[in-house]
Symmetry: none
Subunit: 424 residues, 2 copies
């Protein structure tokens, strides 16, 4: 086994004041995924304002530590687009106006019958030794610089325009050459998606596996009541990496398989939907405290109309009675947040929406409405069917209103998955 092959490393620099003013940085995730799939380790990311000194310093630090530095943003025509200047300064090179590139930009504008602002001439400035990466969706071209850094080893610096529609095709075209230039051995990775377990209990169960694969890298992540476990293996060849990843995956499933509902990009709702589709069953929901969140997640799955009928948002008790057939006597005796009410709601959803399986959620999301016996965070989930079986589970969820509701919706999908798997 060849466990000691280090991955080539990449660093992201995202330029733009809007990234520090509330705009969500989606380039970071998009570029990270593609770089990892191409065998890179992403060593870090910096979001910076349009400042030559800040961008230049971040580039230099990243070049000291990594093989490839990918910069997005700041290539536009206006005064506050300074990435070209910063890159030239980082490398101690000059910017030069390239008439042939300017003609390409002029042609582009002509196509749209738009007058070219004089300031756009800056977009035809190229750093000495850089290769122009054509931009077919906008006027700012990308730039690629391949060179040796202070340590004598090869580096690549790629500058990309900020808009996603321009950045993504340029980077997609540039990635194969980037990966080939910095390739070192091969890599393989996998993710397990877990539910019904806390992050720390899952980590404890997986600890011995991590111990047996000291050269693999791992992440474990909790979100909305679910846990993701991700592992990447590197080896001298892609085949060796795949074989090692297969062994690691088998061991991880032995340790955590009982909580694993899917792999890769699977979500609870997509897995539940696939299971319903395979079995030829339809589903209905009855939601009280979640108010539609379970239906919202289920219908996020493309093609969900094949197995999702709909259901009832039974926020007020009168709706539970009228549309779901929950009896006033039951509500009187057990209350709306009870195993009995959840069961009647799940059964009622099946009848009301003519479905084979029904899932119900009733609980106290807070901040008000809790009592000593039934505190905020108490949630009852019930699943009726398939085949007439009824199951229920109590949850005591701690946290603010949003967290209680999100976790209750996740718990409903998890119990549904159990019921569809026929687990006791």
């Amino acid at each position: 086994m060849s466990r000691t092959v280090a991955a080539p490393r990449a660093y992201l620099v995202c330029v733009g004041s809007e990234l520090l003013a509330g705009q969500v940085n989606t380039h970071q995730a998009w570029l990270s995924v593609r770089l990892r799939r191409a065998g890179f380790e992403v060593a870090g990311e910096s979001s910076l304002p349009d400042s030559v000194a800040d961008i230049r310093d971040a580039m230099r630090r990243a070049l000291d530590k990594t093989d490839a530095v990918i910069v997005s943003g700041g290539l536009g025509p206006t005064f506050d687009d300074l990435t070209r200047e910063a890159a030239a300064a980082a490398l101690g090179r000059k910017l030069r106006f390239v008439p042939s590139l300017w003609r390409v930009i002029l042609k582009r504008f002509a196509r749209y019958h738009v007058a070219v602002p004089e300031q756009n001439k800056r977009q035809a400035e190229v750093i000495d030794g850089a290769e122009v990466l054509a931009n077919e969706s906008g006027s700012a071209p990308g730039l690629r610089l391949e060179f040796r850094w202070k340590d004598g080893r090869p580096r690549t610096l790629i500058l990309l325009p900020g808009p996603y529609s321009e950045m993504s095709p340029i980077f997609t075209r540039a990635l194969p050459r980037l990966a080939a230039r910095h390739a070192r051995g091969g890599s393989a990775s996998f993710s397990l998606r877990l539910v019904g377990v806390s992050e720390s209990v899952a980590a404890e169960a997986l600890d011995p596996v991590r111990g047996r694969f000291p050269a693999a890298s791992f992440t474990i992540l909790a979100s909305g009541g679910e846990v993701s476990f991700h592992a990447t293996v590197r080896a001298r060849t892609a085949a060796a990496a795949r074989a090692e990843a297969a062994r690691l995956r088998r061991d991880a499933l032995k340790a955590a398989g009982r909580w694993c509902y899917g792999e890769g990009d699977a979500t609870l709702e997509s897995v539940v939907g696939a299971s319903l589709k395979t079995k030829g069953l339809t589903l209905a929901v009855a939601e009280s405290c979640t108010g539609g969140l379970v239906g919202g997640r289920l219908t996020s799955v493309p093609g969900s109309s094949a197995w999702f009928q709909g259901g009832v948002i039974a926020y007020d008790n009168s709706v539970k009675t009228k549309l779901l057939g929950v009896s006033a006597a039951l509500l009187e005796k057990h209350g709306a947040v009870s195993e009995e009410c959840a069961g009647a709601m799940a059964r009622g959803a099946c009848t009301a929406a003519r479905a084979d399986v029904g899932v119900a959620v009733t609980g106290i999301a807070g901040p008000d409405g809790g009592t000593k016996d039934k505190p905020v965070g108490l949630v009852w989930i019930s699943v009726y069917g398939p085949g007439g079986a009824l199951r229920a589970r109590r949850h005591d969820i701690h946290g603010p209103r949003d967290a209680v509701r999100a976790r209750a919706a996740g718990a409903a999908l998890a119990l549904l998955k159990e019921a569809l798997d026929g687990r006791p």
Copy 2:
């Protein structure tokens, strides 16, 4: 006017390998917005893997250049949670196990009848001189360090747990003290929340206002079919800043008031809820393509049970007929995605859930199901009531399935707001 007071500066450090593996970094945007509103300039952000050296170096560099460094993530109990260690190293201080904090964590686990993994003891380690910021939604407490840096000037370092539901309340509670400690002069800010207008049209309308207040800073942000306009004014005193902000707000409302549904943290659902409550009206929903998203947003408002009855998720046409009373003839003649069907659904929701006002959504979310006449993205919204009036609006939304659904839900709330305001 005293326009030259420099803002205190903050830097964000987001820790977690998942941020370099494809998870979208939403903390960056969330924290940036709140820091700006509190008068800070956000000088930059770094996303880093769980590496003590990387986190320590980034903290030191940020402390050299800014007043406040906010770190999120890496406070969990597992092997790869290293932020505490990195912060201790950056400041040259020791970590110490605090038995009283450990007892608080044990109590938390006891409430859930969960055995405490031994590794969780790390969460009871505190950096010398740090103040513990209580975490009411999880086991990892936050930490606050107030100290003087090499230049003798005050700095604050705040460590926050990674999960949003834990990070956000801790930071919200810590922000007033942070702002007060680093305040220079005064600042005042406000936000307008707009709907029914595109980002570029709103920006154009507000441009002259921006021109009249050259020293104020502005952000304009589009998200889910809504637009936020935020302005911050700095001056030598808080009173001067407030007076200038009041003038600016008056001008901004003159320019964009017709699209403004609320200010500050207002959401469409909270504004709709407040209006229903004031008027003593109740609401029901009928959702097809949104599958529960409208109900989910409405019930995110604490106390929504005072005005929200519930409703029907009518995904399949049989549910539209059976629970909402949409006639088979209507569906046959006009189709499920039509003004007529939306109107019948809105009216049916009122009857089914015994409410004064009903809102309905029906559309084609895609990726499949579109035709030439009814393409993907076509959405009909209808509102029935108050007082028996019926209104409907067609939307043609571009984008992937998630975007169509999210915008359709927003459009439903926007039309509901118009109906409650009695606008024509």
